[in-house]
Subunit: 216 residues, 2 copies
Amino acid sequence: MLGTQSKHVQNVLIIEDQHLMRTILVDELKGALTTCFVQGAANMSQAMDMLETNLFDLVIIDPGLPGFDPRSQSDRLAVVQTIVEMSPNAIHFVITGSDSDEEWRAMQKLGVSAYLAKNHIRPGSMIEVLDDFANEGLSVRFADEAMAPPEFVYSGLTPREQELINWMRQRPEGKSRRQIYEELGHRIGIDPDSAEKYYKRARAKLLKTGILPKGL
Amino acid sequence: MLGTQSKHVQNVLIIEDQHLMRTILVDELKGALTTCFVQGAANMSQAMDMLETNLFDLVIIDPGLPGFDPRSQSDRLAVVQTIVEMSPNAIHFVITGSDSDEEWRAMQKLGVSAYLAKNHIRPGSMIEVLDDFANEGLSVRFADEAMAPPEFVYSGLTPREQELINWMRQRPEGKSRRQIYEELGHRIGIDPDSAEKYYKRARAKLLKTGILPKGL
DNA sequence: TGAAACAGGGACAGTGCTGTCCCTGTTTGA
DNA sequence: TCAAACAGGGACAGCACTGTCCCTGTTTCA
């Protein structure tokens, strides 16, 4: 189950008690794998049910489950150990809100292949994590304070329009909009003209509703 | 800014260090408000920049920010207090991974209107929270172990197909599929025939790829 | 002053999801 | 055995988003 196999994983289980986080992790995995079948469990008993009745290729675990003390290192390790033992043929990733180097080492001894701080997982990151794992057999991401550009979302924009606005907001000083159109068009594989159109339409919409950020 | 106003909020700031959680909160807010402008900040300095240069109607805070000790009650309260003082005209919601009754009381004294445990926020919940707030001036949701039905996602299904599969998986023993079509069609405002079609198409796709759950 | 960058549009085709309506068969249970 | 429930499709229209190509003006700056 190593190597190039990892992107064709079929059966994935995500064990995480926060609904929104679980939902988006399911989506991220769906996006990172070409064809797959992702299931989510919100607590230990649900997870154990599913582990008993299914064979998973990949199990993603947040050890901070309800009924266990999130401060207790032994509780966290016990959760992971139980799950690893119930799915001996699966790959196991751990996702955590509060990471530590010691915990990663302990998890690794239990057979965990990746250890990911929640605040270091961005949309699209799971692809990189799976790549790391395919190449090196493991992937580790500790918490990270690095600046991400602030988000900005207006309810009336389509995804493409949002994308163009976001890129344009990060435009460096000396760069012309045309250069952004060129660059971005190349990056996402569309005509620079189209990129220009999306930006202009987005801008027009924002102007009409009066909420146009400062960088235009 | 009370009452029916709350759904027409325009400017929203979400302060949360976990990228995925922030992303989905932005989306949830975008969905819950008719027209809005949602911004996200990943840490305190970014948040303070934005609070200085913008006027927000609603600020949503996760007090567990990088640079502060998530175990320290005083750190958490200080974060919230600073933000509340910087946006005196805004409504403030607090979202937290580890909730407690005492913390909610302390937050309330700082002027916080809603206190929400992360594991109690489901997709679509923000609408209810805003309703609660509009009616009662506050909204509180402590952590909750109640069973949510396990998720199931297959990468090749459209949203509607997913929805039908998910409803059908929860079908009670004595209920016929036709009854589900009826009920669901009524609930989401489509023809029962259409519901039937979606389910059948979804089922066919799952059969073709070999991953059909047990309940059919 | 002339060229590039800009704002702000229109026309058009393609695609995927939605939703309605209709069809043929097979299985199941009262 | 007869009707309802089921599996598994086809045809078709509407709609939103995408993407390409083209247009007119105005501003900016070398």
